[in-house]
């Protein structure tokens, strides 16, 4: 067979470490999580009582959980919507032979290199109701003194901004790469045909970008669901009044502060269902050419 080596045993040897790690640390615990979700477990003795679907029933009927779900979806929508549109705009702007593009790129990517915890720390300081510079700026300009601890909407808004800010550079870099893969002939042909810049963009460029856009949609959604724990824990701790109480934070609280392992695992399973939907979407559309070239 062309290109392939004949060894029969070697592939297994090469695969063994990965498969071992996957089975022991990923597959097995996930199955365990499913099992645990049907139990109520004592934090002291580790003994569990089988409760069937009670944990799930409680979650889905719990005001607290449903609220957490809607907050997470709201947050994700904000991050994806703002993140993608702003970074697309920046990428389009930057998509020309510019001097110093490398410098811009590093500056834009710097927040990506920060941890959510560090980002949360910095933004907590920026928006501090008494001493934060943004607060003072808003106060000086509008006379209004925003206090995120008394306004859940404001707190959520700040969280969206902090999270979108952090992913901006990452999104831009991917969009830039995508833009640069748009064949020039297409754009030039469209311009010759009399299409304005906007027309060129929407008719030609955007469809060609759709795989990248979709990829970033999925990455940013996963980011919103799973990577914001540090940000929330440092900045708002789910508050005020649960306004930023995202699903992963709820899970941490229930599983590790209240030591309710069965309930926590049930939440894990529900999260898995949500990831599953996202991933299936990704696998279905990723290979497809979403434009006709």
């Amino acid at each position: 067979m062309e290109g392939k080596f004949p060894n029969r045993i070697l592939p297994y040897v090469l695969l063994f470490p990965s498969i071992a790690v996957v089975v022991i640390f990923l597959i097995f615990p996930s199955v365990q999580a499913l099992r645990l979700s049907f139990f109520e477990v004592s934090p002291f003795t580790g003994r569990g009582t089988f409760v069937g679907l009670a944990n799930f029933r409680e979650l889905l009927s719990s005001e607290l959980y449903r609220h957490s779900l809607s907050i997470t979806l709201l947050l994700a929508t904000g991050i994806v919507g703002i993140g993608i549109s702003v970074s697309l705009a920046v990428a389009v702007l930057a998509n020309q032979p510019l001097r110093g593009l490398g410098v811009y790129r590093v500056a834009l990517l710097w927040p990506y290199a920060l941890s959510p915890a560090v980002a949360g720390t910095i933004w907590a300081l920026l928006f501090d109701p008494s001493t934060g510079p943004t607060t003072l700026l808003i106060r000086a300009v509008t006379g209004f003194s925003p206090n995120w601890m008394m306004s859940g909407g404001y707190a959520l808004w700040i969280t969206v901004m902090a999270a979108a800010w952090k992913m901006l550079g990452f999104n831009v870099v991917f969009f830039l790469a995508g833009l640069q893969a748009v064949p020039r002939e297409y754009r030039e042909a469209a311009e010759v045909d009399g299409a304005g810049a906007a027309g060129v963009f929407w008719r030609i460029t955007f469809p060609i970008l759709s795989p990248v856009t979709f990829f970033l949609f999925v990455m940013n959604s996963l980011y919103a669901f799973f990577e914001l724990f540090g940000l929330i824990d440092v900045m708002t701790q789910g508050g005020p009044g649960g306004a930023t109480d995202i699903l992963i934070y709820r899970l941490y609280q229930d599983a590790f502060i209240s030591a309710r392992w069965g309930m926590g695992s049930a939440q894990s399973i529900l999260l898995f269902v949500m990831v599953g939907v996202l991933t299936l979407l990704q696998f279905r559309f990723a290979g497809r050419r979403v434009f006709y070239g």
Binding site: E2, P17, L36, P111, T121, L136, V275
Partner: protein
């Protein structure tokens, strides 16, 4: 198409500078606060020029949470996982691409792919129990080994290997070189951009990981720098922002260095991926 006019270029630069400022201003602000003294942080109107207390603040942060140990731990973990993940992903991708179909190949591939759907929060409680059973709570093993496998990495390299013309490996075989030789001498040098890109992504990911170390470490000597930052912030007393920001600066430097060194490769790797 005609070269954009001078005015247009300036406008673009201006807007880009604007975007860059938005990206970078919060970080610069953090840097500035890390140079102030405690009183200077709380003055009103706020002080906008740098102070002279950076080393002092860094010293206090160092002492308060054992910053030196924290940085060392984060470095050990980030480096180990980056290396480990790359090794395992490359080997797995190599196994999938360069050998005749072997039994279980499909199953193994699916197993690795599934991990994409199993981020840590989905299995976090049993993982904690597992660590307890292994006796790995509060250890380097718990912080590194579970992260050694990667669907993204394996996929990335497999895609890349598929773009390499088969003639290359055929030639190697003809020359009597074994598969490992081929991997080391030919494939790896070709994959430099992808290796660097994955290294950067994984190093940053592990350096910045917060939830898992928070749960699994108890003691000062195992803690990582991100949790240390939280500890600086969440003291049961007046948060000393100047000291906190000094800690933040310390936590920011290594990832920034990695970013500076590897971002070009990262970008190139993405571009490579775009070429169909």
């Amino acid at each position: 198409m005609a070269r954009p006019g001078r005015g247009r270029v300036l406008l673009v630069h201006a807007l880009l500078v604007g975007a860059t400022l938005v990206s970078v201003f919060p970080i610069l602000y953090a840097l500035q606060v890390s140079t102030l003294s405690f009183q200077e942080v709380f003055v009103f109107p706020p002080k906008l020029t740098p102070g002279r207390e950076f080393l002092d603040n860094l010293d206090r942060a160092w002492e308060r949470v054992g910053l030196g140990r924290l940085l060392a731990n984060s470095a050990i973990i980030a480096l180990s996982v980056a290396f480990g993940k790359i090794c395992l992903s490359v080997l797995a991708a190599f196994a999938f691409t360069y050998f005749r179909n072997f039994r279980g190949k499909g199953l193994f591939f699916v197993l690795i792919l599934i991990t994409h759907m199993l981020p840590l929060p989905v299995r976090i409680v049993p993982m904690f129990q597992l660590m307890q059973n292994f006796g790995w709570v509060n250890s380097y093993q718990a912080l590194t080994i579970p992260f050694f496998a990667s669907a993204t990495g394996t996929l990335l390299f497999r895609q890349f290997f598929l773009t390499i013309p088969p003639a290359l490996s055929d030639a190697a075989r003809v020359d009597g070189a074994g598969p490992l030789r081929f991997l080391l001498r030919i494939l790896l040098p070709l994959s430099v951009n992808n290796l660097a890109a994955l290294f950067m992504v994984e190093f940053l990911y592990m350096w910045n990981e917060y939830l898992w170390p928070l749960i699994i470490t108890n003691s000062d000597d195992m803690r990582v720098v991100q949790v240390g930052i939280k500890m600086l912030v969440a003291t049961d007393a007046q948060a000393e922002w100047n000291v906190i920001m000094a800690g933040v600066v310390a936590a920011m430097v290594p990832p920034l260095v990695i970013l500076l060194l590897l971002q070009r490769s990262f970008v190139r790797s993405i571009a490579l991926g775009q070429e169909k």
